[in-house]
């Protein structure tokens, strides 16, 4: 018997709302008011998210972000800084008591990322799990992921890179002191790939078509790999209200953004 999961496709939103909605879904599932949930979403305007333990000013040129109209947000999950632009982002929330929630975080990554690996395979891309939290295709990173556990639930969110502009990325991300900008950009270009790069036939696709096609494949991939029965839905009014509240009071607040 398949596991019933709610499927949300919430479109493109500001960074603070996106993080607010992920936390609202976590709380809603934790309180038993919603089914375990798989959500797909995007970012408008583009954004930089940093991991819970990262120092804002060590990772991000906040002034450059402001000038370029790029949002900055701190996640509730660990991991590294991410420039969210041409990508599909997903989140998955389930109780820790659920059979798909493994006690060990690394085991959970391995299991849940099976959904993305299967989705990429449906698209025609052979990919594999690269511990701790990445998926690689042809030896290069195509997906980065982060997981936390709170209120008796597991939240994992991550990105599937559709297209990558490393030069633009490093107009807003800081370059570590020990590296030169040019060297770092070359390093990243050699270590990161994208769906557009892996699938030459997608070169001519618009971003909107590639985004929609990728989500279709990921839905099938999650359903197959994790044995999910996905029920298309929308966030509840209570979830949307809480997401707005968290976006304003937590994720947009300087206290939170500059926590470290």
């Amino acid at each position: 018997m398949a596991y019933e999961f709610r499927l949300l496709e919430t479109g493109f939103h500001r960074a603070a709302f996106n993080m607010g909605l992920d936390e609202a879904l976590l709380r809603s599932v934790a309180e038993g008011r919603s089914l375990p949930t798989l959500r797909f979403y995007g970012w408008a305007p583009p954004a930089v998210s940093i991991g819970y333990f990262q120092g804002l000013h060590e990772e991000v040129d906040a002034a450059a972000c402001k000038t370029a109209g790029i949002d900055v947000v701190r996640r509730i999950t660990g991991g590294g800084a991410v420039f969210h632009h041409h990508e599909v982002t997903y989140s998955i929330v389930l109780p820790l008591s659920h059979p798909l929630a493994r006690p060990n975080i690394l085991d959970s990554y391995r299991l849940l990322l099976g959904g993305i690996i299967e989705g990429l395979s449906i698209l025609g891309i052979e990919a594999e799990f690269a511990p701790i939290n990445d998926i690689i295709a042809g030896g290069k990173k195509i997906s980065g992921n982060a997981q936390t556990r709170k209120l008796g639930c597991l939240l994992q969110h991550g990105t599937i890179i559709l297209d990558v502009d490393v030069d633009r990325m490093f107009t807003v991300l800081k370059v570590p002191q020990e590296k030169t900008r040019g060297k770092l950009i070359e390093d990243i270009k050699s270590r990161v790939t994208s769906i557009k790069h892996c699938l030459p036939q997608s070169e001519s696709m618009s971003f909107e078509t590639l985004y929609a096609t990728t989500i279709q494949s990921l839905k099938k991939g999650f359903a197959k790999a994790l044995n999910l029965a996905l029920v298309s839905s929308v966030p509840t009014e209570a979830e949307l209200q809480l997401a707005e509240q968290l976006a304003q009071e937590k994720f947009s607040s300087q206290t939170w953004i500059t926590l470290r």
């Binding site: 660990g78 060990n104 982060a146 936390t148 556990r149 570590p176 020990e178």
Partner: protein, 98 residues
């Protein structure tokens, strides 16, 4: 005195530490305060914040061992950060500083 340390020890993510220590800079210097940052994972995150405070008062040479002990005691699951990784970064600084 304040130490600003960065490193990526084997098996760890990029780790950054700001440590205020009582001078002089020797292995037995006591830590007045410290902040550990980086792209590692520690769950629950809030327990890591508390762990940082509990490391205050320990010596530089004991930091890694104390860190690992507190991770166990507080039921934290850490990925990409270890006591030996923190020690490696500190040892490098001590080697350079002495």
């Amino acid at each position: 005195m304040r130490l600003e340390l960065v490193g990526k020890p084997e098996g760890c993510k990029l780790l950054r530490m700001t440590i205020d220590v009582e001078p002089p800079l020797v292995p037995s210097s006591r830590i007045r305060s410290l902040s550990i940052r980086g792209d590692f994972f520690a769950v629950p995150e809030e327990a890591f914040d508390e762990l940082e405070h509990k490391l205050e008062g320990t010596t530089l040479e004991e930091l890694g061992k104390k860190f690992d002990g507190l991770v166990r005691q507080n039921g934290l699951e850490c990925l990409g950060i270890t006591g030996s990784g923190l020690d490696e970064i500190i040892q490098k600084e001590l080697h350079n500083g002495i």
